[in-house]
């Protein structure tokens, strides 16, 4: 059965070595609106943690604070023991709306992170080519984003984040603008990635099924102001074949359980 831990209380002990990312007592307000209040959460290394919650619960805010794109009003973020003060090469971001350069080809988009880091053209294109292959877009190197489908565009966004070889990948509802069939394929591919890339994934989603399907750990956030209400770690189906996960009794139980606790927050 799943192991459900109570939420971390405010005083979290010093981050354990297996945490890649530690969020401690983070608060953030937009004017009078408290988006996050005293939120603490640990992200284990090499695992995928989902941030799941109703809309407006501050999951994207938390992700952007971890990315260093937004400053926190209070509290600390540590990535591999180093305090976050802004964007850094230890984290890479995958955007909900893909955020591809429409005037650049697929290969330049994938290499863009490396381009900004001053990697030489031939070298960065070799790396980009490899990751374009990894996400299954070989042959589309010279294509432009407007010639690709939504799913393919997000593969470009994913390849760009992988190409910079950051230890932590931050994914902001990456599949929400992708059609259902492609989304399922993506979810399977994501499981493969987590298994083989040995990176820490932080995954924001509003889909309960998606979160349970792909996550090693699910943090349920409740809104106004946002806090971690519970952390769920599925245990029995994580190492099963991708085809069998959705039939697993534990999978179904967790989905139901999360729905039960979130249903009161729907509009």
């Amino acid at each position: 059965m799943s192991q459900i831990k109570p939420p971390h209380d405010a005083a979290v002990p010093v981050s354990s070595p297996e945490s890649a990312v530690s969020v401690r007592n983070v608060s953030k307000s937009y004017g009078p609106v408290e988006a996050l209040k005293n939120l603490s959460l640990e992200f284990p290394r090499g695992e995928l943690t989902s941030l799941l919650g109703p809309s407006g619960c501050g999951k994207t805010t938390l992700l952007k604070i971890i990315a260093g794109l937004l400053p926190a009003d209070a509290g600390d973020i540590e990535v591999n023991g180093k305090r976050v003060t802004g964007p850094g090469s230890d984290r890479a971001f995958v955007f909900q709306d893909f955020a591809l350069l429409p005037w650049a080809s697929v290969i330049r988009n994938v290499a863009f992170g490396l381009e900004l880091r001053g990697v030489a053209k031939s070298e960065r294109e070799a790396i980009a080519e490899k990751y374009i292959g990894n996400v299954g877009l070989s042959g589309f190197e010279k294509a432009y984003p407007h010639e690709l489908s939504g799913g393919m565009r997000q593969r470009v966004g994913l390849a760009r984040a992988l190409a910079v070889d950051s230890q932590v990948l931050l994914l902001d509802e990456p599949f929400s603008a992708v059609d259902e069939q492609n989304r399922r394929k993506f979810q399977e591919d994501l499981l493969e990635l987590v298994r083989h890339e040995n990176k820490t994934f932080i995954f924001v989603t509003h889909s309960i099924e998606e979160a349970v399907y792909v996550s090693d750990q699910i943090a349920i956030l409740l809104p106004r102001p946002s806090r971690v209400s519970e952390i769920i770690r599925p245990t029995s189906f994580r190492n099963k074949d991708v085809e069998n996960i959705r039939r697993d009794p534990e999978y179904l139980d967790i989905v139901d359980e999360i729905w039960a606790s979130l249903r009161t927050y729907t509009e």
């Binding site: 955007f95 005037w103 992170g113 407007h146």
Partner: protein
Amino acid sequence: MTAFGYKLPAMSSLLIWGLLWEVIGQMNLTFFVPPLTTVIATLFSVIGTPAFVKAMTETAYAFGSGVFFAIAIGIPVGIMMGKSRLLDELLLPWVNIFLSAPLTALVPVLMVLFGFGMTSIIITTTLFGIWIIILNSRAGVMQINRSLVEMARSFGASPLDAFFRIYFWAALPEILGGVRIGVIRAVKGVIIGQLLISIVGFGALFELYSSNFLMGHFWAVLIVLFAMAFSISEFLAYLERRVAYYAAKR
């Protein structure tokens, strides 16, 4: 265009109007309209003359410099205004005032400030072109997808990187649109400047021809000017179409 089931070549409407001109000219109704053939003959005889070449180079120089300053100042200022709220509040009212102001009225002031020479003409040209370039660059930057900017930041882009690799390119379709209109306005600026200051370039030439009732010469030079302005505008429109593939999909 098709007429009576036949496909007419492009620009054939120009032929009709040219023919009409020729007919009216041949009828000798007024000295003001000489026949088109005469005008064209004059055009070829005028083009090689030192007076024309001098007018041409002076105008090209004034126009080139004026447009250069309009673009080199206008685009960065527009992009900065799009990026910075403070700068925007500070400058936008002035830009809007100058955009709609009758700049011709400013030329005498410029003459007092900068003399009767080239400087005043260049500044007039810049003043005619720059405002719409600023406004369009600003509009281009303001519609940039926020996540493109966040993406660049998250991959460690410096502000300079963001400026040259994101803002400029993302705003390029609007910037080019602004440059096209700005350049067309600059053509007006350079001619008005020369007419008012009237001692250099085509301004001097117009003055000379019209005061001596050389209507053939007058029209010939006018045709050259129109053709050049039109070609420049078409060339910029072509550049605009080159970036249109992503203009709609940002």
